[in-house]
Symmetry: D2
Amino acid sequence: MRKLRAALLGSTGAVGQRYLSMLANHPSIKLEVLMGSRSAGERYGESTRWLQGEPIPGEFSSRKIAPSRPESAKECDLVFSALPAEAAAEIEPEFAEAGFGVISESSAYRMNRDVPLIIPEVNADHLSLIGPQRKKRGWKGSLVTTPNCTATGLVIVMKPLLDGFGLRRAIVTSMQAVSGAGFPGVPSLLITENVIPYIKNEEEKVAAESRKILGSRHNGSIGESSMEVAISCNRVPVIDGHVETLYGEFPGPVTPREAIDSLRKFRGPPQRLRLPSAPEQPIIVRNEPDRPQPRLDRLAGSVPGMSVVVGRVRNGIGGNSVQLTLLSHNTIRGAAGTAILTAELMEKQGFLGR
Amino acid sequence: MRKLRAALLGSTGAVGQRYLSMLANHPSIKLEVLMGSRSAGERYGESTRWLQGEPIPGEFSSRKIAPSRPESAKECDLVFSALPAEAAAEIEPEFAEAGFGVISESSAYRMNRDVPLIIPEVNADHLSLIGPQRKKRGWKGSLVTTPNCTATGLVIVMKPLLDGFGLRRAIVTSMQAVSGAGFPGVPSLLITENVIPYIKNEEEKVAAESRKILGSRHNGSIGESSMEVAISCNRVPVIDGHVETLYGEFPGPVTPREAIDSLRKFRGPPQRLRLPSAPEQPIIVRNEPDRPQPRLDRLAGSVPGMSVVVGRVRNGIGGNSVQLTLLSHNTIRGAAGTAILTAELMEKQGFLGR
Amino acid sequence: MRKLRAALLGSTGAVGQRYLSMLANHPSIKLEVLMGSRSAGERYGESTRWLQGEPIPGEFSSRKIAPSRPESAKECDLVFSALPAEAAAEIEPEFAEAGFGVISESSAYRMNRDVPLIIPEVNADHLSLIGPQRKKRGWKGSLVTTPNCTATGLVIVMKPLLDGFGLRRAIVTSMQAVSGAGFPGVPSLLITENVIPYIKNEEEKVAAESRKILGSRHNGSIGESSMEVAISCNRVPVIDGHVETLYGEFPGPVTPREAIDSLRKFRGPPQRLRLPSAPEQPIIVRNEPDRPQPRLDRLAGSVPGMSVVVGRVRNGIGGNSVQLTLLSHNTIRGAAGTAILTAELMEKQGFLGR
Amino acid sequence: MRKLRAALLGSTGAVGQRYLSMLANHPSIKLEVLMGSRSAGERYGESTRWLQGEPIPGEFSSRKIAPSRPESAKECDLVFSALPAEAAAEIEPEFAEAGFGVISESSAYRMNRDVPLIIPEVNADHLSLIGPQRKKRGWKGSLVTTPNCTATGLVIVMKPLLDGFGLRRAIVTSMQAVSGAGFPGVPSLLITENVIPYIKNEEEKVAAESRKILGSRHNGSIGESSMEVAISCNRVPVIDGHVETLYGEFPGPVTPREAIDSLRKFRGPPQRLRLPSAPEQPIIVRNEPDRPQPRLDRLAGSVPGMSVVVGRVRNGIGGNSVQLTLLSHNTIRGAAGTAILTAELMEKQGFLGR
């Protein structure tokens, strides 16, 4: 089988690095072009402050970094973007206009009405926005986005609770890892032996993105879900893995048993299509009272880091609510992993390739 | 003025040590007797694994540890207990029977109907249970308890919200410091770079104790408050200071402005009586978006560690709810400090002295 | 090829758990019997507080734990021991007497003159003590030990420096991970945001064991090396990976270049015999100024966790000394990994099998 | 008594902030002018990212920040500088030329031959360089510097060992707190659960500065000490407090007992002159095997943070060496505290005042 050829915008940053690790041995995607701005022209291994525990995959270390321009990627079928929002706002449309399928983690265009905001297990059907998007913008390519890292794990858990029981309200508190802030990110002087009860713009993003992702298609556009979210975001001294407590309210009675069943049975198109980066179980529910924990569970599942781990499923106040704790790996499921899974899905559904 | 003479049960433990620091220069209480079980007969400085940043206050270092028996305290006016629950269950009644006013942090008797569970700013009037308690148990002394460390800060914040706006429901997530688990407590192998989403029995304690403390007196007994609490307790890698997010629901509209005003204005009997350990403001509300933080705010206020610090006061979903984040020092306000403040209050109100 | 059948003493402890992970897919050793004392009779997955990031390898989870007696292992060719010293002192000889080749990480018998203390790359020839050991003790089996976790990485680095340049003195400071203290080990209340400059008995062990391992055979016994070691051991808030600074003095001039060459070229019998757990390079030398780091380098090399990583090789005072920093994974290379490598070596050399 | 009026360069930075806390209630120095570059014209409390546990001392919060120019300080007697090296190189001479006594923590001029590098307990006599300095540079004022934070604690311990026993060589390993890197300083992503075995330029600074501070005056200039230092600097996840292991070699035998005695008896001019910031004991020696520890000991002594705490004093290899572990508070004794103590000394000795 011919592999998809991919280019990567923002390859030297903390988020970009994850793509190299995840695509180094990917069965159907070949990462051909590493792009960067300040480091264009240099060798990847020399100009990157590599932050991962495992070394730079051999093939990439001596690769020359290409400038962040469409010509750099001209042999490629798709472009991943790990750019920060400001750069993304400017650069991503240039690639989409030049005919590339762009899959972006950046927040720049997530909330635009004609831009799909995708979690492949949750709202694969939103990819149908691509047609109208091309028409409206006059693009040969397309722009698809993936959500904020805190929203991703949360919405995967919300989906079966919404479909099965009509989840109406979610009161959430997050305890987020420092890798979510990129590099250099959070100063150690601020977070060591501490909790910071605030992450700028994060709460607004999670609330708005959740409602968009869980919205339904009507005549070629996506309506927002009416489910309501209130979230308090906190930074804690953890490297990887966002923990969230979820207090969910329903229109009628739901037992913990029923909630657990629906979470465990949840599957989406990636599982049915057996996509390479799809974990067998999008949601793993643990029975032990003291799980999930970031250090023990963030790499759980058949594709490490791609499953959301849930525990402590129990009643809330009254019978119409359920409480639980969830964990998702913020730089895998919450970033590079969901983007790669989206690429795999788009290819299977014919949205990629020029 | 003659000082109150106090004895201390459980003096060598992590909680007991705080009493020595807080009572070393106390204007009206003199800590005369340090009791211990395994270490009875030894010098305090030699047999204690001292865990505080400041040294053992000079006067106590060479003090001989007395056995945990009423005779050890016979010159004293009151007895503080920092015993673990099991030992407390057995030993505390012996002291109350022998005529001592016992003030205990232990959970052993907190939920007994005839035992006051006191936060001096919140429910000083519950001390009136002492009369019926003495009658029922045939004690010359008395037993008064103080709440769980996570409940204490939370209930102080709930009180003005309940009195002012009829707080009906509280959905809470805690991020608790490791000192709350005592010594040796939480293994570093479990909590370093991690979150543990569970603390045994803690959630039940917080829910039950909140309702008792906020309950009203009726004919000499205390009825539970009907306010409902759902809490998810988490351990985080912080030394001192419990952070809690609170989502509060009210029967009608409450604005953040109104909530802040009522929190700032809140005062209780300790403030009116100018008790030595009473902070000028039981609740400090900060305006910065990223406060309170354990490392920066746990010692805030006029009596370090005795004020609860609140921040991020904002609307919840709809107009009938308010969200906020609070911080309280778990071994000062959440333990020794509230017990000492209770002693000061009891003395002023004539409940102590033999 | 028939696999070696192994039994494991102390299987439920923090150290024992590493064996399960490392032997789950081992090409030539099959872990057949898991032994334990308090948990004998129970299923492994139910009675073990599993502390690893990856789950219990499937085959072991429902395995019944056998009592710590020679009969439990009767179908086995060798016995690994991850027992604490006191239990080891009593139980290990019973197995050796019953005919088993026992390979132990415990400190109980390390310094006995007739017991080999082995790092396969360094002193494989010390296995020749087994003959005299059997004769002296009347054992059909044998007892072989592996060193303290802090000594292991250090001695691997010392070996080429001793052979190549006559290393005479080593002044060492360690910064050790909390996993080295087992479970529950170091309380978080003591080590969070702190350094503890002392580990009981550790400095004596490292000094004595280094000299034994680097000693030479003379007429069937092992003489101590005359190299001298002074070490200061510290505990730091790291999960896995011991860092050590080494200031080495030589009888004549040694350049950093020469030292690096000899470290990089170092190979031992495991490499020549291509043993399954032998890393291609026992010592990896990095050129970056700020390596090795525990979180980035502890799993470096072709067999994760089995290579010692060295960096910052530079001159000391005058020309006759070299300074460097080394890192070794304390529960892999410093514990289970070296024991398994020793088993592989012993089998190849005919010391195992009954 | 008239108080000395002081101005502060670099007042808003992490180091500058310490001065405000330490000078808020100082008996003989009044901090009159806070200077800053980017924030000049703004109120201190509004433009500073305050990083200390206690709040901004009230008097300073609304103080207007003055531009970093000599005119800003014209009513002042001395100028403290907490500027980074590059800014210091340019700005400090302007103030010295304008007639101010400048006391600087910056590294810019520390190694200039005519600039005293002072630890008041160690080399107060080096202040005599001020006369030649004025002459050579044509300054009405003067420039005095204080050492690198890692050198300060180390040299205080070296001084009695050099005077008493002729310390010849010091082999040192440091474990340094993150506050030593200023703000934002070390990213949490790099240091959480990790050790970084390198701090840029630090080892060179410590070696060179130690020899200068311990050097003797000859005919108006300072000769370097011949004592030799080799140091390995490491960053560890600690907020405040640098730990260092010291292996000291002497020309003849020294017992731990003798070393302890000389450390305990050590006093300098600040103690004899009873300067306000002088701790009673510059060096506190502890007997417990597991001290000093940053979290427990960094604020030890009669002036919190100004004493160096030593422990684990024991023999090295042979009889001519001693090992020990020392701790000093890097932003108090290692920065603001030593500069303030230097000001107190200079005033007493008539080097300040215009």
